[in-house]
């Protein structure tokens, strides 16, 4: 008999099914990360090079005065740690979002987008998944940093978690938005030069902003406009169980803007898939 006797499934999905989908996307992201060993190693080595070498050289040159959230003079290694955490998340967010549009990954993106779940949910799930992976990287980095002698409060691992989730979502959705908007960024080197380096250097990652202000008001102004600065400050404060309302507000607002932009851009009516369209047949 050929007649399909199946009943039509009910429209929509249950909450449990949404969670299954989210778990599946996260699981795959984690598996991919583990399988790509060189990505894991470079994600860990990159901030450690900064911590071991750059910070060692800089601590003699740069005196960091007492600024919140610090209550005493801190070593440069301690100052730079939140910036390096944010850098891990910046690289990861760009890498996982932009890798979606490279040819190698385009097929996987297509499979994701033909899922019957709402597209906004698929994209948010993808962002949550890449954020979870970035938090694993941060955890690994923090363990090494503490062993290296960076002093953090014992509960820092816990208090920093909400900040890491927010910051990861912000940077991931920025990457996703870029992946849909900028055609020229075909390879990762372009992203490094035009997005990652400017964002990283024009921020409070490597030096406190009051130092920047003394030497160049213009750069200071740029740093103040950079949402990455606020991601770093959110992480810096939460490592010490403190709370920076301005940083939180900026990060939440930036996340909302980037994420909305990415969802609009991946709407089938607009965005990258149409403009990339073509191909044979």
């Amino acid at each position: 008999m050929t007649g399909p006797a199946r009943a039509e499934p009910p429209a929509g999905f249950t909450l449990a099914q949404y969670l299954i989908c989210l778990r599946g996307i996260t699981w795959r992201e984690a598996l991919r990360f583990v399988h790509q060993r060189e990505r894991f190693v470079s994600a860990l080595v990159r901030p450690l090079v900064w911590l071991f070498i750059f910070a060692a050289g800089f601590r003699q040159i740069l005196g960091v005065s007492i600024i919140p959230p610090y209550e005493t003079y801190v070593l440069y290694e301690v100052y730079v740690t939140p910036g390096l955490i944010a850098m891990i998340q910046l690289f990861n967010g760009m890498q996982s979002s932009l890798s979606m549009v490279y040819d190698r990954e385009m097929g996987n993106m297509r499979m994701l987008l033909v899922s019957p779940f709402p597209r906004w949910f698929l994209l948010v799930a993808k962002l949550l998944a890449s954020t979870a992976v970035s938090i694993l990287q941060v955890a690994a980095f923090l363990v090494v940093a503490v062993l290296w002698g960076v002093e953090l409060p014992p509960w820092a691992f816990v208090t920093v978690l909400p900040a890491l989730i927010l910051c990861g979502l912000m940077l991931g959705s920025l990457g996703m938005l870029l992946s849909s908007m900028i055609k020229q960024l075909e390879n990762f080197a372009g992203v490094m030069n035009f997005v990652i380096f400017p964002m990283f250097f024009a921020s409070s990652a490597l030096y406190p902003l009051w130092l920047v202000q003394q030497s160049s008001p213009v750069v200071y102004f740029i740093c103040r406009l950079n949402p990455f600065t606020y991601g770093i400050e959110l992480i810096r404060f939460s490592l010490y169980g403190r709370f920076d309302p301005l940083a939180l507000a900026v990060v939440v607002a930036a996340t909302a803007v980037f994420m909305t932009g990415a969802i609009v851009a991946y709407d089938p009516a607009r965005g990258l898939l149409v403009r990339r369209g073509g191909g044979p047949g």
């Binding site: 050929t2 007649g3 399909p4 989908c21 699981w27 991919r32 996987n108 297509r110 033909v114 089938p268």
Partner: protein
């Protein structure tokens, strides 16, 4: 057959342009439930564009597309649930095992746990690859990857399967195996198929065929009817007659 009134796929008056280049011009076709329909056309005829519209990668700007009666623009979730897709490009995650690839797809359809494992085992058995479940996708041959992709497309039990030139780049033996396997599967499961190709030997006289040429639909219907209507002896010569002597389809 009470459900026969609803077409598995209905494409009505669809046009699509990339900038000024018109890829599809007022294309209408239907695939009946449980039917095997071939979309025949040369490279650049608009086959992949049509499939991108059916799978909602692009928005349908003029005309409408419905899967089992669900409009792809108005009820995308319900339409996509009834749709299994095999893209022309390879879409398996090479770093993951065959099984993990399929379980990931199950999750994308809200299926997990025992149901997901059972269905994974069943669809892999259906394409004779049950013994490769734990292998990394990277270690499969081209033909095997394609069969896994077909199994994956059937995992959520869709009632329409669309395949975009699924035999491209395969050797003759794998090609024949895949054509035969899909025909058996769809007969057993009662799934409708839209199979795009430029190869005539993948099409049988009892199939439906739609001939696409430079974005326009030249003919559609039962293969034997299309041949009879053009007054030719075979689908090959019918295709040549309809497309103005474009004979580089492989006979």
């Amino acid at each position: 057959m009470t459900a026969a009134a609803i077409q598995a796929l209905s494409v009505a008056g669809v046009s699509h342009a990339y900038g000024t280049r018109k890829a599809l011009d007022d294309v209408s076709l239907t695939v009946g439930q449980g039917r095997f329909a071939a979309l025949l056309g040369l490279n650049g005829a608009g086959k992949t564009t049509l499939l991108s519209l059916i799978t909602r990668l692009f928005d349908t700007k003029s005309g409408s597309i419905a899967v089992l009666g669900h409009r792809i623009d108005r009820a995308p979730g319900q339409a996509l649930r009834q749709l299994g897709v095999v893209f022309q490009a390879r879409t398996l995650d090479l770093d993951l095992s065959v099984r993990d690839n399929l379980l990931f797809h199950a999750a994308l359809h809200g299926i997990a746990g025992r149901a997901a494992r059972d269905r994974t085992a069943a669809v892999l058995a259906g394409v004779d690859l049950a013994d490769r479940a734990r292998d990394k996708a990277r270690n499969l041959s081209g033909g095997q990857m394609r069969r896994v992709e077909i199994a994956r497309a059937l995992l959520h039990q869709p009632r329409l399967l669309v395949l975009d030139e699924p035999t491209v780049g395969l050797d003759v033996a794998s090609k024949l195996a895949i054509v035969a396997q899909v025909r058996t599967l769809v007969r057993d499961l009662g799934v409708a198929v839209l199979w795009t190709t430029h190869l005539l030997d993948e099409i049988e006289p009892s199939d439906d065929v739609a001939i696409l040429h430079r974005g326009r639909l030249m003919a559609a219907g039962l293969v034997s009817d299309v041949v009879a209507r053009t007054g030719t002896a075979s689908l090959g010569s019918a295709f040549a007659a309809l497309t103005g002597g474009a004979r580089d389809v492989a006979a």
